[in-house]
Symmetry: none
Subunit: 249 residues, 2 copies
């Protein structure tokens, strides 16, 4: 049993955590590791902590940005360490495991972890379809990065029946392929440009509103047909286009 789920570590600071994460992944049957701008890698400490999982480290893909890491993914889950100023809806690990199991039939899935000290930024979380939070002691909720990788990979393994490959029970049935992160991003940029032209997004404080809108559409897991419908809608509502049509009349 091996899992087609990509583990993405965003800007990990400590090479020991990269190695320990690789080991944790391998014990649970995962082998796709992507590192976004790691501070110190490759490193002897990472290799030592990986123990027998050093091949997985050597095959790790290193990219510049989270976007590069998840561009071809249809479902992206972020690991959320603690509560934020902007309260993001989070799910627990059991629901996460069932959700990912169902999504694996639809396309590539990424599980994203933020830097040790700060966790995922609001911008990174806005790129996730779901956020999962590991229940923890409210007085000391600071799980080590590799420990969080271990627990969430373990939950996915536990969600498989038997251990003889993935069951597709519970898989969503869809009439069109799910949109990739790139397609979704294109839609959001289109929407933001239209809303800026309409004066709805105020350039002085656009960030929170854009994040909220992205969150709404991420949650609804758009497929490609739906992206086309929504982009057609944006075109019809674009005040710049409406303006130019009126000029012609």
């Amino acid at each position: 049993m091996s899992f087609a789920v990509r583990i993405v570590l965003v800007e990990p600071s400590h090479p020991g955590n990269i190695g320990a994460s690789a080991r944790a992944m391998k014990t649970m049957g995962f082998d796709q590791l992507v590192l976004v701008a790691p501070k110190d890698f490759p490193s002897a400490e990472a290799t030592a902590r990986a123990s027998g999982a050093d091949a997985l480290l050597r095959q790790a893909r290193i990219v510049e940005s989270l976007n590069d890491a998840i561009a071809d993914c249809a479902f992206v889950v972020g690991a959320s360490a603690r509560s934020r100023s902007l309260a993001w809806p989070t799910i627990g690990p059991r629901v996460y495991a069932e959700t990912v199991k169902a999504q694996l039939a639809q396309g590539n899935v990424a599980l994203v972890f933020g830097p040790e000290q700060s966790g995922l930024t609001n911008e990174d979380m806005a790129r996730c379809h779901q956020l999962v939070q590991i229940p923890a002691n409210p007085e000391y909720s600071s799980l080590n990065l590799a420990m969080a990788v271990q627990v969430l990979c373990y939950e996915l393994r536990m969600a498989q029946p038997g251990g003889d490959g993935l069951s597709h029970d519970g898989a969503e049935t869809r009439d069109a392929p799910l949109a990739t992160a790139d397609e979704l991003n294109g839609f959001h940029e289109h929407m933001e440009s239209v809303l800026t032209a309409a004066g709805f997004i105020n350039e002085d404080h656009p960030k929170l509103l854009k994040l909220r809108l992205r969150r709404i559409f991420h949650r609804s897991r758009l497929d490609q047909t739906e992206i086309n419908i929504l982009r057609g809608m944006l075109k019809a509502l674009d005040p710049r286009v409406i303006g130019s049509q009126q000029d012609k009349e």
Copy 2:
């Protein structure tokens, strides 16, 4: 929520693993650590890896034998790393969590982990009432000691109803009440009226498109704040409003 379950590490070799185990315990609300004949303790490395859980290390009880560690326990669970020449019956982590939860009312409970390289001896396993095995990749089942502590403490925490910081596992946490069916309907009627005015919804065959749009927003489970944002957006994009503003200019 704190757990009256004692975590016993038998002859741990690496002080880093002792520290990481203490941190793992504390994140899940456990604070009773017993070390049986540790090779190297106290140690600066243990303290460093314990991060904020160093108080738990200072309070750790150090004993000579497993017997001393579990003498007053009514229920002892051993963590079994791999299969043995002598096949011991093992249970999975979910059954273990339910079992321990039930036993906690009866008396002290200990969860025992063997040395990193060799695991529990047959003699040690014979002192356990149950053995729990964490499912793992059969080709690489070597979980780090502290990772096993993390997973088994996590399973116990997950087995408690409610006290996990999330309202209950599976429920999304939201920052505003979910929109009612009426509010959602009001939003959709508003959207349909704007889209009809913009010529996007063709009055000859509007039904399928309307349904598709409703489906998209139903899936994203909008809350009341989001409904207000989206209705504000529709107002900004309404060609009738834009038209009347242009008339005034």
